[in-house]
C-alpha cells in the first residue's frame, strides 16, 4: 500500500474524530443558553414559556408554604379554583374503581407547595406507560410530529428572528410536545373528550393545516355535526362503534398515541412517491379502516384521487418556483436579496456570506423579509397548496377546487409580475440607468425594524 493510499484513510478518519465531537460540543453549547433550542443564546424566555415548555422553564411561584397531599389539596382548592376541582371530581382519577387508589393533585404536582411542578408526559407515563411510549415513538419519524413539535419550533431560525409577540403565538399549539393536556384538558383528562374532533382542532386549524374546515365540510364531518352528540364516546375507537369517522378514529385507531407511522403524504409539505412498497402497505391499512362502511374499490379510488391531486399541485408549485429561480439567477428580484435587511441570527453571514431569499431557505423564513413576488409564492405553497391537500385528504372537494383555483390565480399573478420585472430590467439596461435604490424603504424603514428587535 502506497503512502498516498494510507493518507486516504487516515486524513478523513482524523478529521472525523475531531469534527464529530466538535459538532456535538457546538450544538450542546448552542443549546446551553437561557432560552432553548439551537438559538437558546439569542433569546430570553417570557414567563408564559413556563406553561408551554414546563420541562425547561416552569418554576413554582406559589406563596403558600407547606406540604400538602390528597384531600388536603382538595379542601383548599374547592374554594380557590372550584372549576378544576369539579373537573377532577368527575374524572377517573377521582373515581378509579376496581379498588385502585385515587390519583390526587399531589401525585402529579408534588407535595411541596413552593416547589410544585407541572406534569410533563413522563409524569403521566408513570401510569399510562403504553401511551407515553407510543407518543415518544413518533420522534423516529422526524418532523412534523407531536413529540418534536416544540423542539423543532425553537430550533428554527425565524423563532429568534421575529418579534416574540408574534412567534410566541405558534408555541401554544407546539406545546403539545411537553404536556398531555393539549388533548385531554385539565383536570378531567377524559379519554372520551380526546376522541372528539374538538380535542384536535384547537390546534389543527388555520390556513396551513385546515383540518377542522376540511373535516367538518366533508360528509364525514357533517355526520358528526348532525348526529355526533348521540354517539357513545365512552367506546373505544374501533370498527362498528361509531356511525362516522373522526380525527382520532382514523389517525389514532384503538387509541394508539402515534400518528406518524400511517402518514403517506407527509402533511403535503414535501413531494413523496405515493407508490413505494411501504406506502402501498399504509394504503391498505387505510382501505381496511374505511371498510367499516365502504367497499375497498371505493376507498382505493379516493386514495388515487389524492395522488392525482398532489401531482397536479406539485406541478403548479414547481412552475412557480422555476419562475422565481429564473428571476434570482438573472438578479432581477426587487429588492434583491442583498438589498434587504439581514436576519438577526445571521451573524454567521459576516464570516460565511450567503444570499438570502426566503423560500430557498425553507418555509418559515418566507413569511417575511422577502419581495412581494416571493411572498406570493410562499402563500401559494403554504396556504393554497396545503388547503387543497387537506381538502383532498379529508373529502372536502370544495377545498380542492378552491385551493387549485387559488394556485392558478397565484401562478398567473407570479407570471405577470415576473414579466413586469423582466421588462423593467430590460428597459433599465436600454436606458443605461439603474433602478431606484431600494435601500431607504427596505433597509432602514420601520418595517425592517421588526426583524431587528431583540427577543
Amino acid at each position: 500500500m502506497s503512502r498516498k493510499r494510507v493518507r486516504y484513510i487516515w486524513v478523513p478518519l482524523i478529521i472525523a474524530l475531531i469534527a464529530i465531537p466538535a459538532g456535538y460540543y457546538y450544538v450542546e453549547w448552542s443549546k446551553g443558553g437561557s432560552g432553548a433550542g439551537l438559538y437558546s443564546r439569542q433569546w430570553l424566555p417570557d414567563a408564559v414559556f413556563a406553561y408551554w415548555n414546563p420541562d425547561d422553564f416552569y418554576q413554582s411561584t406559589g406563596a403558600v408554604v407547606g406540604e400538602f397531599a390528597g384531600e388536603q389539596c382538595i379542601a383548599c382548592h374547592a374554594a380557590v379554583t372550584p372549576g378544576i376541582v369539579k373537573d377532577w371530581q368527575a374524572s377517573r382519577h377521582a373515581n378509579p374503581g376496581n379498588g385502585k387508589a385515587t390519583v390526587y393533585c399531589s401525585d402529579c404536582h408534588g407535595n411541596n407547595h413552593q416547589a410544585l411542578h407541572l406534569p410533563v408526559p413522563e409524569v403521566c407515563g408513570t401510569c399510562h406507560a403504553a401511551q407515553h411510549v407510543q407518543f415518544e415513538d413518533e420522534k423516529r419519524y422526524g418532523f412534523p410530529s407531536h413529540a418534536l413539535a416544540m423542539e423543532r419550533a425553537l430550533d428554527a431560525k425565524h423563532f429568534v428572528d421575529k418579534p416574540k409577540a408574534e412567534v410566541t403565538a405558534c408555541l401554544q399549539c407546539h406545546s403539545v410536545a411537553g404536556k398531555c393536556d393539549s388533548c385531554h384538558t385539565r383536570h378531567r383528562f377524559s379519554a372520551a373528550e380526546a376522541r372528539r374532533p374538538e380535542a384536535c382542532i384547537t390546534c389543527h386549524s388555520g390556513p396551513p393545516h385546515p383540518d377542522d374546515e376540511t373535516y367538518f365540510a366533508s360528509a364525514h364531518g357533517q355526520l358528526y355535526l348532525g348526529e355526533g352528540k348521540e354517539w357513545d364516546w365512552s367506546k373505544p375507537l374501533r370498527k362498528g362503534n361509531y356511525k362516522g369517522p373522526t380525527c382520532a378514529y382514523c389517525h389514532m385507531g384503538d387509541g394508539k398515541h402515534q400518528v406518524a407511522d400511517k402518514s403517506i403524504w407527509k402533511f403535503g409539505i414535501k413531494q413523496i412517491n405515493p407508490l413505494t412498497s411501504g406506502n402501498e402497505v399504509k394504503r391498505e391499512q387505510w382501505v381496511a379502516l374505511c371498510s367499516d362502511c365502504h367497499e375497498s374499490e371505493w376507498s382505493r379510488q379516493q386514495l388515487a384521487g389524492l395522488d392525482a391531486e398532489r401531482k397536479q399541485a406539485w406541478k403548479k408549485l414547481y412552475s412557480a418556483e422555476a419562475i422565481l429561480k429564473g428571476l434570482r439567477s438573472q438578479n432581477i428580484l426587487y429588492p434583491a436579496a442583498g438589498e434587504r435587511p439581514a436576519y438577526p441570527a445571521d451573524w454567521l453571514d459576516s464570516i460565511w456570506p450567503r444570499a438570502r431569499v426566503g423560500f430557498f431557505e425553507g418555509q418559515a423564513s418566507a413569511f417575511y423579509n422577502v419581495s412581494p413576488i416571493e411572498r406570493d409564492y410562499f402563500e401559494m405553497w403554504y396556504f393554497d397548496n396545503l388547503g387543497a391537500y387537506k381538502g383532498a385528504a379529508h373529502g372536502d372537494q370544495d377545498a380542492v377546487t378552491r385551493g387549485h383555483a387559488a394556485m392558478e390565480h397565484d401562478l398567473a399573478v407570479i407570471e405577470k409580475e415576473a414579466e413586469r420585472l423582466r421588462s423593467l430590467a430590460e428597459q433599465e439596461q436600454q436606458e443605461q440607468h439603474q433602478r431606484p435604490d431600494a435601500s431607504e424603504l427596505w433597509l432602514s424603514g420601520d418595517y425592517t425594524e421588526f426583524n431587528r428587535e431583540q427577543n
Copy 2:
C-alpha cells in the same frame, strides 16, 4: 305566388329538415364516447366516476360469486362492513312497521354478487314515487338544479379542458343528480337526517355558494346551533313544528323534493326582474312561509332589501364588465386573447376561429387561462357577488357588507389596472415600440401545460 315567394318557404324548410336531424345526430354522436356529456369523446372516466355517475359508469368488481338475498347479505356483511349493517338495522328499511315487507340489500342492489348495481334515483323511486317525480321535475327549470347537476357539469367545456385531478373534485357534489344518498346518507337513509342543515351544506358551502356560512351566521342559524339539538326532527317540515327555519324547512317545505320552482333570484348568477307577476306570486309564498313567526310587512321588507342589494350588485358588476369590454375592444388586454394558449377542446377553432376571453364565454372558463384583470373580474363576480347575495338571502347582513366592500375593492383595482394598461398602450404608441412579447411565459410556460393535459 311568384317563384321567389315559393323559394322563401321551401328553402328554409328544406334546410330545417336537414339541419335539425343533423344537429340531433351530432349531439348524439358527440355524447356517444366513452366519457359522458358533450365532450364524451375527449376524456376517459376515472374509476371514481363509477360512484359519482353510477348510471353511466358503475361496474361491479366483486370477487364473490353467487346469488344472495335478504338475511344472507346481512349475515356476511355484519362482519365485512359492520358500520353500514348497523345503519341499515336502525333504518325504516329494516323496520318498516305496518306489516310492510323489510327492504333488504338485494332489493336495491340486486341478487347476483358479480353484477351488483348502485341504486340510482329510479331504483329509489320504485317505492318513493312522489319524491322521485318531484326531483325529476326540477329539470324543467334548467340549471342550476339538482337533477341536471351532473349532466351540465360534464357538458361544460372546462370539464374536459382542465386536468381531471381538479375538475373531478367538483363532481362529488354534482353527483347529487344520480343518487339519493347525497342527502340521505347510506344506509339509514333517514328523513330526519335530511331535514337538518348538515345534509345540505356538505355541498352548499364554499365561495360561490356560501349557504352554510350565511345561514349559520344568521339569527336563524344561531337558533339552530344553540337549540336545534332539542328539536324533534321526526316531525314534518310544517308550520309550528320547528322553533327556527332550516335549509329544508324553507326550500323543501312539507318534504317537497323540488327546490327550483320557488327560486326568484336564480342563485344570484343572472340578473332577473324580481317584480314579474310570476315572481310576485313566489314572493307571497315566501311571505306565507315566514308567517310562522314574522308579520307579513316585515317579510316583505326583507325581500325588498334583497331586491335592492341585487340591484346594487349588478350595477357594480356591469361597471367592471364595461371596463373590460373597453379594454378588449381597444385590444389592450395583456396578454391578449390571441396570445394565450388555445383550450384543448378548441379544435373547432381551427375551422371557425373565435376570440377567447374567459368571462365572455361564461363563468367557468374564467377560472383560468385569462389575464389577471379578467380573473379579478371573475372573482368579483363569482365569489364576492355571490357571497353578498347569499348573505342577503339568508339574513347574514355581515356577508352583505363584506361582499359589497370586496366588490368595491375589486372595482377600484380593476379601474386602476385598466388605467395602467391604457397608459402603457398610449406610451407604446408614442414611442413607436411594441410591448414585450408575451408568448414565452403564456404560450410555452409550465402554466399553460395544465391546459394541454389530456383528460
Copy 3:
C-alpha cells in the same frame, strides 16, 4: 384691571354664550329631518327601519281593527303566527310562577291593534329595571357600546354617503341599541339562550370583529363545542357553574348588562396604555375571573401577551400610516384626493374645502372612494389588525399568527407600491410630462355613481 384684561374675559364669554346654544340648535335642526342622526335631512328611511329603529320609525300597519288583550291575542295568533305563540307559551312570561301575573302580548305591544308598538328597551325595563339601567349606563363609555350602536351609525357620514342597500345591512346588528330581542330572541326571551355564545355571535362575527371564529377556535370554544350541550344553562354566570367560559360568562358575569366598563383594549381600534392604574384594576378583575380554573400567574402572562401583541400591531400600523402620510405630503397619491368624486354629504366643502383622504377621516370612509394603496392600509388596519387582536384576546393563537403574517404582507405591498408611486413621480418630473388625467375613470365612471346615489 385694564380694559384689555376685561376684554379677555368678556369677548370669549359672549362668543361662548352665542356659539354654544347655536351649536345645540344646529345639531337639533340637523337631527330634525325625516331620517335620523346628524344627516337626518339627507336620507329617507326604508320601511325596514321600522323594525331596526322602532322608536323613531315604527308605525303599525295592521289591518285588524279593535282592542284586544290577554288570551284574546293568543286565540287568534295561535293560528296566524303559531311559531311565536309556541315560543311565548314556553317562556317565563307565560309561566311566571310565584303567583306573579302572566305577561301577555298586550302588556308589551299595547291593546289597540291599529296602533301596536314594538317594545323598546324602556318597555322591557318596566319589569327588568336593573338590566335596563345597566344597559343604558354603557353610554358613559362612548362608542363602541351596545346602547349607542344605532345612534353613532346614523351619525356617521358614510351612512348617508353610500347606497342604502349596502349600509342598511350594518344596521341589522346596530339595532341592538333599540330592542332587547337581538340577544333574547322573540318570544321566549330566554335568559338561558342569551347565556350561550350563539346569542352574541349573530352580530359578533365577520372580519372586523371575528369574536365567533376566535372564541370557537380557542381551547375554551372547543370545550363549549364538544361538551356545552351537557351544561346546565339555567344556572347564573358564576364561578363553578360552567366547565368552560363563554362570551357572556367573561363579559357579562352574574348577568350584568354592561360590558364596557371592563374593557381595557377598546376593541383594538385605538392604541391605549394598558398599564394605567385604572387598567391595572380591570386586569385584576380579569385575573379573578380566570381563577375558576387558572392560577393567577398564568392569567397575568396571558394578559401580558396581549399587551405585547398590541404593541407589535401598532408598530406595524404606524409604519404603514407613515408611508401614506409621506405620499400625501408629496402629493403623489394617485388618484389624488382632489381627483376623486366628492362625497355626497360634502356640501359643506363648497364653503369650507377640505382634502379628503379616506383613512385620515376615520375608519369608515376608507372603505371606498380611495386609491388602492389607501384601501390596502384600511384593510390592514380594519381586518388583519383587528383579527389579530381578537385572536390574542380570545386565546386563538392561530389568528394572531395569521393576522400578523397578513399585516406583514400588507406592509410589504404598501412599501412596494409606495416605491412604485415615488419612482413614477420622479420619472414624470424628469420627462416634464404630467401623469395621465385620472378624471375620466374616477370622476365620471360608473364606480363613482354609487357615491352619488341619493339615499
